[in-house]
């Protein structure tokens, strides 16, 4: 259990304390990852099934690595998106997998709400690895973890999220988590990529990149998906990159010293982020990847682990 939750589907439903429970445990999980022998027997005999309806390399690998470090068995299942008229329904697929008695089912789906639908029909814990434009809770947690680790705290910090907010489940999870930890969130992007109601979630919306990043402690750059071009949300990548992309020159002039750059990946180099910046000293993009494993270990552990432990060491005993 994570606080009151048997599943990890939406950070919107998570309280500050529940988020902190995951982040605090992830600190000790990260320590395990830095050992020469990266393996603890904590989840031995438990099984984690990953069910992906959308292609993903990093998120799936991250979950599988997390499970393996904790000694859980993993099974990965790739499925075509269900439809009413043909093929197996999502619920049937999930029930079939459940018959194999997994402890945790990790699901990614292109339809918002799909993990919640599965959770209502299976007995095991369900972890969302991203659903449509709804949420990507583990990404939201790993971003919060990375920011807290680098900035010391999120209390009073300013985080700008830049890009296609409309289609971003990462932005939504960030928006539900970061303010609960005391941060202020600014959203920036072309007006066609900012959906209605963002102010109600406590975000400040700004279409000008320069003022949006001014004084920010961290900037999360989102990937521009090529299918959005001519959607017609934006005229093209050239103007987008000029107005909402970040490069070393703009970063040098507009960002405060020490401001971090995050990106959920994969990066479109030269579109939202220049190579020199992505690989430069401000970038914590690779830290995000490593922290992703630690955060997912913490989640799997809390959902499938032996109960009330506070550290993997104690659980091992």
């Amino acid at each position: 259990m994570i606080g009151r939750h048997r599943h990890c589907i939406a950070l919107e439903d998570y309280s500050r304390e529940e988020i902190l429970e995951v982040l605090d445990l992830a600190v000790s999980m990260k320590e395990v990852l830095e050992r020469p022998v990266k393996k603890v027997p904590t989840l031995r005999g438990k099984s984690v099934v990953t069910l992906f309806f959308e292609s993903s390399t990093r998120t799936r690998s991250s979950f599988e690595t997390a499970a393996k470090v904790l000694s859980a068995d993993t099974l990965s299942w790739t499925a075509a998106t269900s439809s009413v008229t043909k093929g197996e329904t999502l619920i049937d697929t999930a029930r079939n997998l459940e018959a194999m008695k997994p402890d945790v089912l990790v699901i990614r789906h292109s339809a918002s709400g799909a993990p919640g639908l599965v959770a209502r029909h299976v007995a095991c814990s369900v972890v969302s690895a991203g659903d449509g434009a709804h949420e990507h809770p583990t990404q939201g947690l790993l971003d919060a973890f990375t920011l807290r680790e680098k900035l010391g705290t999120l209390e009073g910090k300013v985080v700008a999220i830049v890009g296609d907010i409309t289609h971003s489940r990462v932005a939504r999870s960030n928006l539900h988590a970061l303010p609960k930890l005391g941060a202020k969130v600014r959203l920036c992007g072309p007006p066609t990529m900012i959906p209605p109601g963002m102010e109600r979630l406590g975000a400040k919306v700004d279409h000008d990149l320069r003022s949006a990043v001014d004084g920010a402690d961290a900037v999360i750059m989102l990937r521009i998906q090529h299918e959005r071009i001519g959607d017609p949300l934006i005229p093209g990548t050239r103007e987008y990159s000029k107005l909402w992309g970040l490069n070393a020159k703009k970063a040098g002039e507009w960002l405060k010293p020490g401001a971090l750059i995050l990106h959920p990946g994969p990066i479109n180099r030269g579109v939202e982020l220049s190579t020199e910046l992505a690989d430069g000293p401000r970038s914590v993009i690779l830290d995000q990847v490593q922290n992703g494993v630690a955060v997912r270990m913490a989640i799997l552990y809390l959902l499938a682990g032996p109960g009330e432990p506070t550290s993997p060491e104690r659980a091992k005993a």
């Binding site: 009413v84 999502l90 709400g113 949420e135 109601g197 109600r200």
Partner: protein
Amino acid sequence: MSESSAGTIFIEGGRVIDPAGGVDGVRTVVIRDGRIAEVSERVERPRDARLVDARGRWVTPGFIDLHAHLREPGQEYKETVATGAAAAVAGGYTAVCAMPNTVPPNDNTSVTELVLKRAAAAGLARIYPIGCISKGQKGEELAEYGELRAAGCVALSDDGRPVASASLMRRALEYALAFGLPLSVHEEEQQLVGKGVMHEGPAATRLGLKGIPGQAEEVMVLRDLALAELTGGRLHVCHVSSAGSVRAVREAKRRGLRLTAEVTPHHLALCDEDVARSGYDTDFKMNPPLRSEDDVRACGEGLADGTLDCIATDHAPHAIEEKQVEFDAALNGIVGLETAFPVCLDLVRRKVVTERRLIDALTAAPARAFGLPGGSLARGAPADVAVLDPMAQWRCDPGELRSKCKNTPWKGRSLVGRCTHTFVGGRLVHELGGGRG
């Protein structure tokens, strides 16, 4: 007439609300030979007449639904004319207009005749078929309105989809004038709808679902109001859901345009935040989608001031496998015939509309809109009567619905108000619990 009063029915002690006849008060309704014989304060009841004790209840004309999907022919796994009619009379409806988006669609007399034949066999509610605006509802060629009219169609609609072509819509409005048929139009601008699955707004943003702005409806309403003005055609706007559409219809009526409009119980009662609260429950997915609280309020005001003439259910049964899927993949629509009255009665409690206006919107107003018989308790009229218990509290158990499908957002909820008796042509076709009467 014979001396015997056997077969005569006395509905006594109830509050008779008959907006068409200007009646609101405790009266006895006497039904003889399938017709309303009398509505008066004091009548002597012969010993052998049948008594329906309506004390504490409302006695109204049977409800008339201008918008239901009965699915026959072609999708009998969802509903048949008979099961739809059974659901109708259980909800107090004595007449239902059947939308033509069946398989095949009702664009020719053989389908119209089949629907009427099934309705006669079921012998429950009166079923009035609606014919297609365009052949096959493809939006390309006009259907044969003359033949459809002759076979028994009472209106024309391509409901389920809009008439995208403005020129086809113009000609449809003109051509239908020869037959006096209203065009019941489903208004949405498909480019603006895109892949949207719920109302565009903060709730859709949080849920990460693609939104449909209210303006997708409003721009088509405005187009068709202009075309109605051009042609003098008879427009009926289906399931109005947005504040902008209400405003447009109100202004058009003020200008003197001859048109009518309907609103569904769910667009008067639920909003987009209910979709969020439901946790992606696909029984909250329909087209048009549940809109913002402001839109809901505007629809209520439109109903109250008569801008929206009538309440129509948009009863749209879907099988469980069509609903128990991802929100994006689920079919649009909910069943509504059996819950319309309690859901709308709540509007009276919340002082959105008066009792009289509510009953008018369920009875006389829809009869006027499509020129249908019924909707009144006038002496000599066919005895289509609903007896309603406005205090009855019941839990909506989908398993107990007469409709073949159970896709209702009110499942498990406690509702207040229920139809206890329904008479069609003087025949008792529904009695709640089959007991008291």
